[in-house]
Symmetry: C2
Subunit: 198 residues, 2 copies
């Protein structure tokens, strides 16, 4: 199975790569490293990636940035960081990737716990994550040829302790459980699901 | 109470105006009509609106457009229609309006049922609506001086029969119940809530 992993060198991506790299043809994609490079904030860069990589079976995205900062001083330009990168970037992976994915393939995108459990400074990522979850539900009913889509929505992960102070009372989730959710999405049979790992 | 109503001549907005126009100082705002005009897709236009209208107690937004069309042919430019108008537009009303709203004031934004109950052609609006719902939950915990925010998320409304064919099995909701949700948000005491009218 040919699997494209976007964000392959990130905190979550590298754990996914370790788990699936042995048994599959894994195409590691990153913004600064990997078999291929992509700027997820650029539709043209995403189009170029798919043209270069060619047909594939599975895409897993653990990529994209958002803005984390106080609402009181937030500007449109701040808010658009998350819209352009984590949201539009991952959605472009589906809008463009649907024309390159093989029948019965799957997309897995990454949202996050802020979608329904907000913290201070997190308004942009709450909106972005919730939008991704809803997009997954909606795209699932239109994708053709048996192509599936799910969204993994993890809590703050144990490997990102620098985030802990911003998530009071959020219990960090183990990387094993997070990786398991991506495996369920990529190798299971469900579609239109949001796998919340909290 | 000085109430700014964005989208005052729309299907939902005009019913809200009928209900609250008698008892309050209502500032009707539209893209093409009203006491003031705004292009909700432009942050500069929104900034200008607040400067002209001045301090206010309550903002109700029933405005913003999204893209409705098949996923198979959807492009980034299509998807950005909803991001720029219904999503970023309504969020700009809060990001900018928070600096003009009086203490104990409130914001009410409009999402929609596609957030969690998708239909064909609706992927953009599913994402946009869900993002708005999450933004409301998140902004509520950061707004200061007792300012509240809620989101009304209506099903397809009885006054928009041209949408019915695109919402098979969705039972149209009465305008009275939809308007009631805006009243609960604007004149009640809750914050961070999503009022689903389905």
């Amino acid at each position: 199975m040919k699997i494209i992993l976007i964000g392959a060198s990130g905190t979550i991506g590298k754990k996914i790569a370790e788990t699936i790299g042995k048994d599959h043809e894994l195409v590691r994609v990153g913004s600064k490293s990997g078999d291929f490079r992509v700027d997820i904030g650029s539709g043209a860069s995403i189009e170029k990636l798919f043209k270069e990589v060619g047909p594939f079976d599975t895409l897993i995205s653990a990529a994209g940035e958002g803005h984390f900062g106080p609402l009181k001083t937030m500007k449109e330009a701040d808010f658009r960081k998350g819209l352009d990168s984590k949201l539009m970037g991952q959605i472009n992976l589906v809008l463009t990737g649907q024309h390159y994915i093989r029948p019965q393939g799957s997309f897995t995108l990454t949202a996050g716990v802020l979608a329904d459990d907000p913290v201070r400074l997190g308004a942009n990522l709450s909106a972005v994550n919730s939008a991704l979850e809803a997009f997954g539900r909606a795209a699932a009913i239109e994708l053709e040829n048996g192509v599936r889509i799910n969204v993994v929505s993890p809590g703050v992960v144990e490997d990102s302790p620098h985030y802990f102070p911003y998530f009071p009372g959020h219990v960090p989730v183990t990387m094993d459980r997070v990786v398991a959710a991506y495996m369920k999405s990529a190798f299971g049979a469900q579609t239109g699901q949001v796998y919340k790992v909290v």
